[in-house]
């Protein structure tokens, strides 16, 4: 695949294994087919100046206490960087149109100057980073400092402790598996369609349990299988004369039938988790009846990737804040920055932290909170004593010279994730400095309005947004629902899900599971009810109470969505399709039961199985 050079420096010795890896169908954007080398590895021979800067910055960072992975730098062209970014940092990814779409959007954004990606870093050991060739030196230095911050975070934050540091190899192996599938006769369109389905459900993992993310095939927590009745396997021969009865119901035959039935019931109980299980993907991979072996493997690949990327989603704000903090701090070093570069650096920095039009910039939020932590711990503005000071002026001026800021931020980067970070360390000072606000949707005017600027509301809003990696939490309740092998899922969060997306995801779950799906969720519905309404009666000339049918909005009503296969009639011919039914549920006898009244049916419609997405 790559450059055939001899690597002199030690930091690249581990690279040969990564560099040489090319999967069967891996899309290597770094191929040597073009004129000259479009991309190259940063070594002492290829670019001595940048290599020296890399070593200098790394040395200074380590003297400040940072502990990053050793970094392997790829200097590449703009479109290669965008290709890598579209593939989440792994150029040897399998082929899919999604990378093409992301690449196109990134390209347009890059052209218009809206999103300028300067670098891309991958969580691996050694960390792999990409940067653009045409950048000015000051930008390259900034990028190196930024990446050092990220690399240190990946190495030391507790959420990342179990991520696969050899993910480059793993992804390349996945790509070569996909290539082998294609050469063994499975059509690429089928594979692509399966990936489309898998991408819609790829976030249904258990983010609270990132550690044991290998699928366990021996489930020790089983229910007791239902007891087999005594006369199972025995035919009723009481009407026959006794000497004939002896010939029926031979003990060994009956025993075998009972044993088979016991095994079957055992397997069935395995389909019902003792407690609701959040790792839906693992459950589907283990127990689905509709997946072929290669599909199971591909789905497990997707699951591995989700677990790999989950910590990044859960620590976005912290990670970016940490990297910005260090690139700001390191770039002040006289050994790194040159006076002529200062304005350029300031402009670039400001661009990264820009926050216009109200949308929240994770970089800015992260850096503000980190700076706030450092300041507070330097001045000792924390702890019980400080909390008890009521006077605002005294609080602002409090300074006991403890200078523990640096120690504290290092500990924070080790132990926290976004949710705990915001919950513990967001202060009203940061909220005021960044002009943060909580907004809500006003239905009357169909617009978004500011609802609060208080610390408590902003903090709770952020925490609820960040929880579970910005995604709702879906649990498997029963894999043998109705004793018919149907899958029963429930949704744990107190908010409504986007309805058309929910439909499409449930249809894809059906395709993956093979049997009907039942999904419990909540939704806002509008019901007509007879109510007493005060109305101005023109005839009598005064207000009078009238019984009228009024639209009543019921917030967050629990309902169950069922997906069943159904033939749809469209354009005078029959098409395979799905029927989606939404029925209100009620909590009765410790479980959720569907309502049986006609009023309880919220909606029912058919969707043809045309498109995968």
């Amino acid at each position: 695949m790559l450059i055939k050079r001899t690597f002199g420096s030690s930091c690249c010795s581990g690279v040969a294994a990564h560099a040489g890896r090319s999967g069967g169908k891996s899309t290597s954007t770094f191929s040597t087919g073009n004129v000259g080398q479009r991309s190259y590895l940063l070594t002492r021979e290829t670019n001595p100046e940048l290599h020296n800067w890399d070593k200098t910055i790394r040395g200074i960072a380590q003297s400040e206490g940072l502990d990053p992975f050793s970094t392997v730098w790829w200097i590449c062209q703009r479109d290669q960087l965008l290709s890598a970014a579209a593939r989440m940092g792994f150029p040897s990814n399998f082929s899919h149109w999604k990378w093409g779409q992301d690449f196109k959007e990134l390209n347009i954004g890059h052209r218009l100057g809206n999103q300028r990606i300067f670098e891309m870093v991958v969580n691996a050991d050694p960390a792999v980073a990409y940067t653009m060739e045409g950048n000015e030196l000051v930008d390259q230095k900034l990028v190196m400092c930024h990446v050092t911050g990220h690399s240190d975070f990946f190495k030391n934050n507790i959420t990342f402790a179990n991520t696969n540091k050899d993910m480059m190899d793993a992804i390349a192996e996945q790509a070569s598996f996909v290539g082998k599938l294609q050469s063994s006769g499975i059509s690429p369109i089928e594979i692509e369609q399966f990936f489309d389905m898998a991408f819609t459900v790829d976030d249904l993992i258990d983010t609270t349990n990132l550690y044991p993310n290998a699928i366990e095939f021996d489930d020790a927590r089983l229910r007791e299988p239902e007891p087999i009745p005594d006369n199972f396997g025995m035919a009723d021969v009481s009407y026959m004369p006794p000497h004939i009865q002896r010939r029926f119901n031979r003990p060994e035959v009956v025993a075998k039938a009972r044993e088979d039935e016991f095994q079957k019931r055992l397997a069935d109980t395995a389909k019902t988790p003792v407690d609701p299980d959040a790792d839906v993907l693992a459950f589907i991979i283990k127990h689905s009846t509709a997946l072929r072996p290669w599909q199971r493997t591909l789905l497990s690949f997707i699951r591995e990737r989700s677990y790999y990327f989950a910590p990044q989603g859960m620590t976005k704000v912290m990670n970016e804040g940490w990297a910005v903090y260090w690139h700001q701090h390191l770039m002040k070093h006289s050994a790194i920055i040159d006076p002529s570069e200062v304005t350029s650096f300031a402009a670039h920095n400001a661009g990264t932290l820009a926050m216009g039009s109200g949308s929240l910039n994770p970089y800015t939020l992260g850096i503000s909170v980190f700076r706030d932590i450092k300041e507070r711990w330097d001045k000792g503005q924390h702890g019980r004593e400080f909390d008890q000071i009521e006077d605002r002026k005294e609080r602002r001026k409090f300074d006991d010279g403890s200078m523990k800021g640096k120690e504290q931020i290092f500990q924070v980067r080790r132990l926290e994730s976004d949710v705990s970070f915001i919950r513990k360390f967001l202060t009203s000072k940061v909220v005021a400095d960044l002009n943060l606000f909580k907004f809500g949707y006003d239905e009357r005017w169909n617009e978004y309005v500011v609802t609060s600027t208080e610390l408590k509301d902003v903090r709770d809003g952020l925490v609820s947004q960040f929880s579970n990696g910005h995604r709702p939490r879906v649990l498997v309740v029963d894999g043998n629902y109705g004793n018919a092998g149907e899958l029963h899922l429930t949704h744990d969060n107190p908010y409504e899900l986007k309805a058309d997306y929910l439909d499409r995801v449930c249809i894809n779950l059906f395709r993956l599971w093979g049997r009907p799906i039942h999904f419990d969720s909540v939704m806002d519905i509008v019901v007509q009810e007879m109510k007493d309404v005060q109305e101005f009666d023109d005839d009598k000339g005064k207000f009078a109470t009238v019984k009228k049918e009024v639209d009543v909005k019921l917030p967050l009503v629990p309902f169950r969505l069922t997906v069943k296969p159904m033939k749809c009639i469209s354009h005078d011919h029959e098409e395979p399709g799905f029927q989606i039914t939404k029925v209100r549920t009620y909590f009765h006898h410790n479980q959720w039961i569907q309502g049986t009244d006609k009023k309880d049916l919220i909606s029912q419609y058919n969707i043809s199985a045309g498109q995968i997405l």
């Binding site: 899309t27 479109d79 290669q80 290709s83 149109w97 999604k98 990378w99 093409g100 779409q101 690449f103 196109k104 052209r111 218009l112 100057g113 809206n114 999103q115 819609t200 976030d203 976005k316 932290l353 926050m355 216009g356 039009s357 949308s359 929240l360 994770p362 800015t364 960044l434 002009n435 943060l436 606000f437 909580k438 907004f439 949707y441 239905e443 169909n446 617009e447 309005v449 500011v450 600027t453 809003g461 947004q465 910005h470 709702p472 908010y495 409504e496 899900l497 986007k498 309805a499 058309d500 997306y501 929910l502 439909d503 499409r504 995801v505 939704m523 806002d524 909606s603 419609y605 058919n606």
Partner: protein, 475 residues
């Protein structure tokens, strides 16, 4: 050297934001207003571009801008890329567009393209991968204005909600960020799909082989010229070397071959005469006061697709006549289109004017047919040209004109290959007082040359039926 006052191209044309000023980085960061609905002209001349804002916190937000066609083609359509999966994505888009076209006619007013051009952009809803995310009504969140003077006040509006789909209804495939992607299709391809779908017969330009055109065929060789004919030259070299006894024909060694100047031959041409076929299609539209936007939209759709189909069919027929294979470049070659609009009087128009004109007045239909006849007699004599005429209107006519119209159509039907009359039902013109019943009575629905069609509702099925009636085989 004289320095020109004006450059032949306009350097100042850039991507324009809706306010008219060039699009800058800060515009894109959120200060520019979202695109308004462009003024409806026939084929869109601006294309929406969507930019994705940072999607790290919550749902991604999108902003859409209208970009002129030229800028779209230059900057956005085929960006140079080294990415191998962009081809996959484009192919997928093309498949989606093809499915959409197969399902039914797409309103050409929604396509992007130049009037009279060969390539149009077919809108395809953008594909995005759905995941489980928060719904609209609970989509509050946290935002910030950043360090600065802008402070948020309680109750302050910060953004407009979008018109989402009904959450209780079936999910559509509509793009959720509202903008479509435009997949370029040649009109030739669209015609091909429609012809297959509707089962239209090939055109037969009968006996119009009196037009001759000269064709130049580069299949000869000559001993002088500029481009050498390599295979022939090589053959000559080997032949002369063998006859001179210099080499052994069984083991040829390139180094042993001796080249003499006599061996080199060059490509040359011969002039031949080829039959030429020409077609003249005349479109006539009633633009009087009784035709509102609704009827005109129906007319535009039918005219656009008729034009597309006939141009392709004629190109195929012409290529067959000349003994060549039909390629996409031959689309519309040999076809001349004439556009006439009339109210009380008829005028010849350009294609652009035909599709965008608004007029009002009384209606005299024979004026259009008179003008058409005049054009055919002077410029496209029936002996040499294949003439097709199509009339679109709502059938409203001055009473005194109806008899003249029937005679006129009868007369013209002998001077044209086919004459089509399409009537849309309009709100202002009742069916019983329109021309259609009279025409139906006189000529019937199975007349060989005169084809009648009535569009009762502006639906795609009605358009398709009308187009099929115009072009079906009636032998």
């Amino acid at each position: 050297m004289r320095i020109p006052d004006k450059l032949p191209f306009d350097l100042s044309r850039r991507i324009v934001s809706p306010s008219g000023k060039p699009l800058t980085c800060s515009d894109v960061r959120g200060n520019a207003l979202p695109a308004q609905n462009p003024t409806k002209i026939f084929l869109r001349d601006t294309v929406p571009i969507t930019i994705m804002e940072d999607s790290f916190l919550g749902l991604p937000t999108y902003q859409t801008f209208e970009v002129s066609l030229d800028d779209y083609n230059t900057f956005f359509r085929d960006l140079p890329s080294g990415d191998p999966d962009v081809g996959r994505f484009n192919r997928k888009l093309k498949e989606l567009a093809r499915d959409k076209l197969k399902k039914g006619l797409i309103n050409p007013g929604q396509m992007a393209g130049r009037v009279g051009g060969k390539i149009v952009g077919v809108p395809v809803p953008s594909i995005n991968i759905p995941n489980l995310v928060r719904g609209k009504s609970s989509q509050g969140g946290v935002g910030g204005f950043g360090e600065g003077d802008k402070t948020p006040r309680k109750g302050q509006t910060i953004g407009k909600g979008d018109d989402g789909n009904d959450p209780n209804g079936p999910g559509d495939e509509e793009g959720d960020h509202g903008s479509d992607l435009f997949v370029p299709f040649s009109r030739d391809e669209i015609a091909q799909m429609l012809i297959d779908k509707l089962g239209l017969p090939n055109l037969d330009p009968k006996g119009k082989q009196t037009l001759i055109s000269e064709a130049i065929k580069w299949t000869a060789t000559h001993h002088t010229g500029t481009f050498a004919d390599i295979p022939e030259t090589l053959a000559n070299i080997i032949r002369s070397n063998i006859s001179a006894g210099k080499i052994d024909p069984d083991n040829l060694n390139i180094d042993d071959l001796v080249v003499s100047p006599n061996d080199i031959v060059y490509q040359s041409y011969t002039e031949t005469e080829q039959p030429e076929a020409g077609a003249a299609i005349i479109y006539m539209m009633d633009v009087s006061g009784s035709m509102t936007e609704r009827e005109k939209e129906a007319v535009r759709t039918c005219a656009f697709y008729l034009s597309t189909i006939i141009q392709r069919q004629f190109g195929v027929a012409r290529a067959n006549l000349r003994g060549e294979t039909y390629t996409a470049d031959d689309f519309g070659v040999g076809v001349k289109e004439i556009f006439i609009t009339h109210d009380a009087r008829a005028r010849e128009r350009t294609e652009y004017e035909f599709y965008t004109t608004r007029e009002s007045g009384g209606t005299v239909i024979t004026s259009a047919f008179d003008l058409a006849e005049k054009i055919v007699d002077t410029r496209f004599p029936f002996d040499d040209w294949n003439v097709y005429m199509f009339y679109f209107g709502d059938g409203g006519n001055i009473d005194s004109d109806n008899e003249k119209l029937f005679h006129k159509i009868n007369a013209l039907s002998r001077k044209t290959n086919a004459l089509g009359y399409i009537q849309t039902d309009s709100q202002m013109q009742s069916y019983s007082s329109s021309c259609f019943p009279g025409l139906d009575e006189r000529f019937g629905m199975y007349h060989k040359h005169i084809r009648l069609a009535r569009i009762e509702e502006p639906t795609n099925t009605a358009f398709t039926t009308a187009i099929t009636k115009m072009l079906e085989d009636r032998n």
